[in-house]
Amino acid sequence: MRNSIISNILLPFAMIFSCMPWHAAAQETRKIIHSIRTDVRAGNVAKTDGFFLGENASGRPINATMSAHLKYGFRFGEGTVYGRMYPHTYQGIGIGANTFFNHGEMGTPALLYVFQGSRIAGLTDRLSLDYEWNFGASFGWKKYDPDTNPMNVVVGSDVNAYINLGFILNWQAGKNLNITGGIDLSHYSNGNTSQPNAGVNTIGGRISAVYTFDNGHEKANTGKDKLYGKERTDCTFKPYVSYDLVLYGATRTRGVEWPDRKYLVPGSFAVAGFNFNPLYNLNKYFRAGLSLDLQFDESANIKDHVAGDYNQQDQPKFHRPPFIEQFSAGLSLRAELVMPIFSVNVGVGRNIICRGNDTDGFYQVFILKTSVTRRLFLHVGYQLYNFKDPNNLMLGIGYRLF
């Protein structure tokens, strides 16, 4: 899990922010507007497991959570195409530290993530309603251990993904200073790469101070501008169809349940998939379409292919199921929020070609696409089954055809 998250998510983002052509292009035309942000967040831990209700070493409910964050952000200036298309959108990278006031069993994880936010609605000249999402990794959890941490049945790895969504009021207190505050939802889990994986969910509030450097000094560009060699004289958006081709992989764990025995199969299994997703780009913020989703899961339906009698073996072995029991082809409806650099894609689908209980069902996907070039993007996603059963991560790359 540690290697998956670090190598597949964070390194590419570091590359993006230092090397990407849109960055250079923006600097050639107009400034990038930089900012420093500090957050303080506090909240409640959702009681999704008995561990939080008091079934832990201290015997007390785990209620509260608190975190502090330091973030570097930037937005594109008005002289850039992105700046004109997405004037209120900001993105960046942040670090933080989170406590659950139970260091002995949960630890005090550190956070490293990317974030993006934008305006939902302007309320007054100085007040707006914004949203912001964070996505990254959290390190330093204390995970389940049958000897040293037997009651923590919610965290199965010392590195977990970190997902956050906030709805905040943004008040421009001064020319370079903004104060924000709002509600905050966070989720921590390992994407079914380790067990247990019940996950940690929090809800609370946040308050932030944002200092923007050189805000309002950059000039508006009324002339021609170039981005990726295309000349854009204005920001008029014409709807069009694009085609996303995605190739992804991941590892996952698998537990099997027989009528008289539950067994967590040792080790990890491979998952690989391909998506073909035509999307109708309705406007600069939104596109939607139907996706053909093909996936192979090495662990699917192994429960039905035990070698011998599972009750006669401490560690049962399995036969590899037929390909058709581990392969699925489905169709999903996708909707995508499009922003500079990042797009958030959600989908609901159903496997059409499948065999066996593990692949026969409805699935849901949540994906963050990170543009690397105009056509290439990184693909970080997660798949659920039946709206509740974690299935697998979806880490890969995509290519967009126009």
Partner: protein
């Protein structure tokens, strides 16, 4: 710059794919050496079958027949032809052949390659199809392969050679036939003559005592052979056309002389007499060797044993004064 980005992406993808490949879980999976367990029907007259396996992670464990899961014993030879003795479990042998030649089931099987087991039936002398179970497996699972073997052709007797020597000859054994109480006390002058047929219900009794088992399952049921006898109580073996079937049970043969011969006995007037009828038997034993062959397979068998015989050759009728008990229990005329 874009080339550098593409190179970076390619490197990351390669690293991800390698990570994925290394993450596959080979220790959890074992090959299924027999996804579908076959069943076979073989002809007991020399049929054979090659049983195929999908992978090489299996051994022949044991074989068993109907009615018991105890393993059948086979004489085992390894791939180099070394005799490994009689075994009923075969997990220790990777390449070997095994033969079973005793009693009514003769077959062989061999595992000379990793994906194949050859079974050859030599004969099934049971009267019904024989359900053979071949248990093959590994440390995780077994497969019970059923092979139904139809009965093979029974043997015919080519020749039976009796020894010229007889032993345990004895010709003075008397066996009572019946006793009748004749009360002639009421007659002052008349004699009472009674007539007896001592051989009326008599027969020759023979037994074949075989050194080997299962002769009855081996030979055709309608086989007849000529057996020798001693005549007139003389210690001399002769063939006079007496024929019999083959059985491991006692066989009753008819006597070679008329059995309705009648003999008279006179009881004088005024007396009671018990008239007793006896037969005198001659007994003997002689050894034989029986040569059998199978008309379909050509296989030959040799059975040895001894013929035991007892035959009546003389009768006696005599009377005696009855005791008080005999007066009340003896059959009265």
């Amino acid at each position: 710059m874009e080339r550098a980005v593409h190179h970076t992406i390619r490197t990351l993808c390669t690293a991800a794919l390698l990570t994925l490949a290394a993450s596959c879980n080979p220790d959890i999976f074992v090959e299924d050496f027999m996804p579908v367990t076959p069943e076979f029907n073989l002809d007991g007259n020399g049929d054979s079958v090659k049983i195929g396996f999908a992978s090489d992670n299996w051994h022949v464990k044991y074989l068993y027949g109907p009615g018991s899961v105890d393993g059948l014993y086979f004489t085992v030879r390894d791939a180099d032809g070394n005799d490994k003795g009689d075994q009923c479990h075969f997990e220790a042998y990777n390449r070997f052949s095994a033969v079973r030649e005793n009693d009514l089931l003769a077959l062989s099987f061999s595992k000379l390659g990793p994906l194949e087991l050859t079974v050859k039936i030599k004969e099934n002398l049971f009267d019904n199809p024989y359900l053979l179970h071949i248990v093959a497996g590994n440390e995780y699972e077994d497969r019970d392969i059923k092979v139904t073997i139809s009965p093979s052709e029974k043997y015919v007797v080519d020749n039976i050679v009796f020894s010229n020597d007889i032993y345990d000859f004895y010709n003075v054994r008397l066996e009572p036939v019946d006793e009748i109480l004749v009360d002639n006390t009421q007659s002052a002058h008349g004699e009472t003559v009674i007539y007896r047929k001592p051989y009326e219900n008599a027969h020759r009794t023979i037994r074949f005592v075989f050194d080997q088992e299962n002769i009855c399952n081996t030979v055709k049921p309608d086989i007849e052979i000529e057996v020798p006898n001693v005549y007139e109580g003389k210690e001399k073996l002769e063939f006079r056309g007496e024929k019999t079937g083959i059985s491991e049970r006692e066989i009753h043969l008819p006597l070679t002389f008329p059995t309705d011969s009648t003999f008279a006995y006179t009881v004088k007037p005024g007396i009671k007499r018990v008239v007793a009828t006896y037969l005198e038997y001659a007994e003997f034993k002689t050894d034989f060797t029986m040569y059998l062959s199978n008309p379909v397979s050509g296989r030959k068998k040799v059975f040895t044993g001894r013929l035991e015989s007892e035959v009546p050759f003389a009768s006696f009728i005599f009377g005696y004064e009855p005791t008080n008990k005999e007066q009340s229990t003896a059959k009265s005329l």
